[in-house]
């Protein structure tokens, strides 16, 4: 079997059974799940048609272990929410703050592939790193766990001060960390108005926006189509990418032209909304793929990433049965 055909192919029911019986270990489920198992709702997809077996609860890790071993589901999920009565999704206590970065949905993808590939998965990894920097540097959040989901990453935040926040605040956090709006560029003091472009302000939201915009511009390619950015503007932005690598924003803006620059950053701000799936972040009762479970659609392990700098999904998240497909 060819190398690329081995990876990212759906797992057969037999492969799923082998995974859960021979490779999977209940100890691979992170402590943040096992320590709160009785407060979480679990959901399963048995046929590959979506997680319609929901409202499941497990009183112990051993019961969960037996369930997964025996049923070898197509996909397994657990809630981000903690409940007093998880079987009825009742008595909400708190929810993890979650950011879902899916490689196939990244708005500016260098690869242009149809599904996911090494290039866009690496982009997803870079995006997660930058989101973590903002959550830590600006918002002071520390208790973060990165999960490789099979086709991207889940960033799960457990700092107590954000776990009780409602959907509206979570929505604002998403918009802040992804740079979803162009910062204002006029500031007033004592009746005078001063113009300050986002790239001249090295802190706060303007800094976040500058970082996300730089990332987007540096990943622009000829084949990418963006609303309100015509071919000439795209070409000029790509031509001047090197200027931005050295953070010479003023020169870059000058080369593009002030009005076209505004158009460019406005379009990028709107594209940034696609960096994470905001619906996941604002949904307090979402179920997320269970770390250690199998993403059967692509035959990848959903797993906690301890060192995101060194993580390589094609090395670390491929189940053994995929490598053994070769010998068939």
């Amino acid at each position: 079997m060819e190398e690329k055909e081995r990876f990212l192919q759906p797992a057969s029911p037999e492969e799923r059974r082998r995974y859960y019986r021979e490779e999977w270990n209940v100890k691979d489920i992170p402590d943040f799940i096992s320590n709160s198992i009785i407060q979480r709702e679990f959901g399963f997809d048995h046929m590959g048609r979506g997680p319609n077996d929901r409202y499941r609860v497990f009183r112990s890790m051993d019961l969960l272990r037996k369930f997964l071993r025996y049923r070898a589901p197509f996909a397994a999920y657990s809630s981000v929410a903690f409940y007093k009565k998880p079987r009825r999704r009742d008595g909400w206590i708190k929810s993890e703050l979650v950011f879902d970065v899916d490689a196939k949905d990244i708005p500016i993808r260098e690869c242009g592939c149809a599904g996911v590939c090494e290039i866009c998965l690496n982009q997803a990894r870079e995006i997660v790193c930058s989101l973590m920097d903002t959550l830590k540097g600006d918002m002071g959040l520390k208790d973060m766990h990165v999960i490789y989901s099979g086709r991207g990453y889940h960033l799960r935040v457990f700092d107590e001060e954000v776990m009780e926040l409602d959907s509206d605040v979570r929505g604002q956090i998403v918009q802040y960390i992804i740079g979803a709006e162009v910062p204002k560029n006029e500031y007033a003091q004592d009746g005078m108005t001063y113009k300050l472009e986002h790239f001249t302000i090295p802190f706060g939201y303007p800094k976040v926006f500058t970082q996300r915009t730089k990332y987007a511009i540096l990943h622009l390619k000829d084949h990418i189509q963006i609303d309100d950015i015509n071919k000439k503007l795209l070409k000029d932005a790509i031509k001047n990418q090197d200027i931005l690598r050295e953070d010479k924003w003023g020169i870059f803006k000058g080369k593009i032209g002030p009005q076209r620059y505004q158009r460019l950053i406005k379009s990028i701000a709107s594209l940034n909304m696609g960096l994470v799936d905001a619906k996941v972040s604002i949904d307090l009762k979402r179920i997320l793929r269970l770390p250690s479970s199998l993403h059967s659609m692509v035959s990848m392990k959903c797993m906690e990433v301890k060192d995101i700098g060194k993580f390589d999904p094609f090395q670390d998240a491929v189940p053994k049965f995929v490598f053994e497909r070769k010998s068939k």
Binding site: L165, V169, Y176, A180
Partner: protein, 440 residues
């Protein structure tokens, strides 16, 4: 020195004033001290006795009237309300504030038009009062009140309520490692080494300075006002009979709030908006996009969560947000004719235009459309099921951006509104206005 209660009625000084009030019935008694203070306030117009509050209930009404007239009346006369800017009025003003808040709590409750008006009027009054004070008094009050509301290192999450109600937006705040940066020293310590060739003081003044502190203070007091109304409302639910003085005041509050609808109007926007057939020309860009069919992911959210509430409210109850009264579909469309002949066909056509057509692979979603209009989880819309589910109100623009970011392609009007339904009303009025102008 100006009392902190002049700006913050929730301060200890403010509470002390309330404790000293004594008999509630005294609020109707002619108050010579109050009248004297009013007529001796700088710039106060005393030519019309109607402008002068004679007792604390009068003052409470004037306080709200000031906000409503200032907001709606192009000929608003500032001199009729000068006493409201006089710091000496504090001991009466605080009582008036609590009378208004309690009356609104017991009669209208939280999340009402009256409750919103109360919080907004408090915010506007604080803003105007701070603006009238000397710089020294203003800075002193700002630091004293903020110092009592925000103690020690302030985490941004402390402002969770304000962020949740969008009174404050995260991009307006400057944060470092979770702390809200408000003081210049903190600012310098956090960012000075990043500010190459820039004047740290100037940057602080421009990006934070007193304007962000005032914004936070203002919004915190507004939030406290809303929370207070909620608390009193909850307590009042346990009591059998509210005080008649408060109920009487509540009726007068309604009259004040209804006045702009009767007197001013704005090309019809303050008038009651009746149910009327669709004018698709007035639909916002996001709705037009969904009506053309969704080509990729998000079909369900676009048709069920977004389009169904929008179309049903646009057709049947367009001024739901302004009137703030909960209705059922059948209250407006008793025979469900508009639902069946106008609303559902538009929704179904949009669903059909999706790729793939929504009901082709998910026919069960028709039930969800019925549910979002309040008719329960049933395959047919029937009056006997109405009320089993809630008639969903249309998503606001912020929610659309989060749920369905690809739909948000704002035009010039979008910048002025916060909900696609407001866009529709605005455009309807514009279209009507321009037709009338042509006729004239």
């Amino acid at each position: 020195m100006v009392s902190v209660a002049f700006i913050n009625p929730f301060s200890e000084e403010g509470r002390q004033i309330v404790r000293e009030l004594g008999d509630l019935n005294s609020v109707y008694e002619e108050n010579g001290d109050l009248i004297d203070l009013v007529i001796h306030s700088r710039s106060q117009d005393i030519s019309d006795d109607e402008s002068i509050p004679h007792n604390l209930i009068d003052l409470a009404i004037k306080r709200l009237e000031w906000y409503i007239k200032k907001k709606n009346n192009p000929d608003f006369d500032y001199k009729k309300y000068s006493y409201l800017y006089n710091p000496k009025i504090t001991r009466f003003d605080v009582i008036a504030f609590y009378l208004l808040s309690q009356a609104i709590s017991v009669k209208f409750g939280p999340n009402s038009r009256e409750s919103r008006a109360m919080a907004e009027s408090q915010g506007k009054l604080m803003e105007s009062r701070l603006g009238e004070l000397s710089l020294r008094d203003r800075k002193h009050l700002l630091s004293t009140i903020l110092g009592s509301l925000l103690i020690g290192d302030v985490k941004w999450t402390t402002l969770g309520d304000l962020l949740s109600s969008r009174k404050i937006r995260l991009p307006d705040l400057v944060m470092s490692h979770g702390n809200l940066i408000l003081d210049e020293e903190e600012f310098a310590e956090s960012f000075q080494d990043k500010l190459e060739n820039r004047d740290s003081h100037k940057m602080y003044e421009l990006l934070i300075g007193d304007h962000i502190k005032e914004l936070i203070l203002n919004k915190m007091i507004m939030q406290k006002t809303e929370n207070y109304i909620t608390d009193v409302y909850k307590k009042s639910q346990r009591k059998v009979e509210p005080n008649p003085i408060l109920l009487d005041l509540a009726d007068r509050i309604s009259e004040v709030l209804n006045e702009p609808i009767i007197s001013y109007g704005y090309r019809g926007t303050e008038k009651k908006m009746e149910a009327s057939p669709f004018d698709t020309e007035a639909f916002p860009p996001c709705v037009k996009m969904v009506l053309d069919g969704i080509k990729s992911g998000g079909r369900n959210d676009a048709i069920i969560l977004f389009l169904t509430p929008f179309l049903s409210y646009a057709r049947l109850y367009p001024d739901v947000f302004r009137r703030n009264i909960t209705l059922k579909v059948s209250d407006v469309d008793p025979q469900l004719e508009a639902v069946e002949k106008e609303i559902l066909p538009l929704i179904y056509e949009a669903a059909e235009r999706c790729t793939p057509p929504l009901f082709e692979d998910q026919p069960q979603e028709k039930v969800n459309i019925n549910a979002k209009m309040g008719f329960g989880m049933h395959s047919e819309i029937e009056l006997k099921h109405e009320g089993e589910t809630t008639w969903y109100t249309p998503m606001g623009c912020e929610k659309v951006k989060l749920h369905l970011p690809s739909l948000c392609k704002p035009d010039e009007i979008c910048k002025k509104i916060g909900n696609p339904l407001s866009y529709y009303i605005r455009r309807l009025n514009d279209i009507k206005y321009s037709k009338n102008s042509k006729t004239d």
